[in-house]
Amino acid sequence: MAPDYKHVRVRDYLRGLVAHELDVGATIPSERELCERFGVSRMTVRQAIDALVNEGLLHREQGRGTFVAPPRTDMELRLVGFGDDMRRRGMTPYTDLLDAETVEAPWDVAEALELEARSLVHHVQRLGWADGRPMALEESWVSATAFPDLLDGAPDAFPESLYATFRDHGHDPDWGEDTVSASDASTHEAELLQLGAARTVLRITRRTFAGQVACAFSRSCYRADRYTLWVPLTAPNPVVTPRVRAAMTSTPGSTEPRSAGTTQEVRR
C-alpha cells in the first residue's frame, strides 16, 4: 500500500491545482519540484502525472512539458442535432458532409426505422466540428419513403439540420432513445477526428421518433477526450403489481376473460 499511497497524494495535490489554481494551458510544477515537495522518487511523481494524463485532466507535449487540459464538454443527450447542440454550448459548429446517398437499408437499419427489408433509405455521413476542432462523426439513415426529397440539394445545399427537415415535413421529433458505449476508434475514425494517442470514443446509437414515426437512426462517435456524459437522475417510478395475483394463481378455476388471454389469440 505504501507506494500507492505516495502516488495518490501527489495525484490528489495535482488534481487540486487543476481544479482551483491553474488555468487551462498552464504548466504544472516540474517533476523535480514535486519530488522535493513530497519527498518521493521521480517514478512516483510520473505515476501520478500519467494517471491524470490518462484521465484527460493533463495534457503532455513531447519536449515541452505537461499542461492543464481544456475541460471536457458536458454532453447532455438531448433530441437536437449536432449544430444546435454546439450552439447551445456557446461553440460555433461546422459540418462536413462526407457522404449522402440513397441505398437499400441494411437489416439493422430497416429494423430500427420499422421499414420492410431492403427499403430505400438515405445514408448521410457527417463530421461535426466545434470551434475549429473535430468533435463527432455521425452516420444517419432516414427513410426515403417518408422524406423522399431529403438529398435533392446534396451535396451543395444539404440541410444543416435533419431535425429541421423532419419538422418541415410535418414530423416534429419529440422522443427517442440513445445507447452509449465506449470503445476505441477505428483507424479511419481516428484520422477524421484527428485523434492522437488517446483513441477512446463514446459511441452513441440513436433512434429519433416523431410520435409513432421512426424518423432517423444514427450511429455517432464522439471524442471521449472532449466530452463527459452528463445524465440527470430521478428516482424510479412506482411499480405496478397485479392486485389480485395471489388470489388468481391459487384459484384453479379462474376464468376471468382478461387473464385467460393466451399468446395464440393475438397472433396473426
Binding site: Q212, R258, V266
Partner: protein
Amino acid sequence: MTPHDDQASRILRALGGVDNIVEIEPCTTRLRSEVKDPAVVDQPALRAAGAHGVVVSGRVVQVVIGPAVDVLASELEDLM
C-alpha cells in the same frame, strides 16, 4: 375500439396476461416488466400493439413505447 382491444389490453395479453406479470414499471420511454414466464411473451403481438422494440433479458421484458408509457402504465394498472 372495444375495451379488450385497446393498446393496454393487447399489451397485457401479449405479455402473457395478468397471471404472468410480477410487476410493471414505466421508465421514460419503456415499459419495464418482470414476468413469471418469458416464454409465453408474444413479441410479434407486442409489435402489432404498437411497440417500437422489445428487449428481453431473463424474466425482464422491456417494451419500447415512447413518452405515452406513463398513460399506458396507469391503464395497465386499471386492468390488473
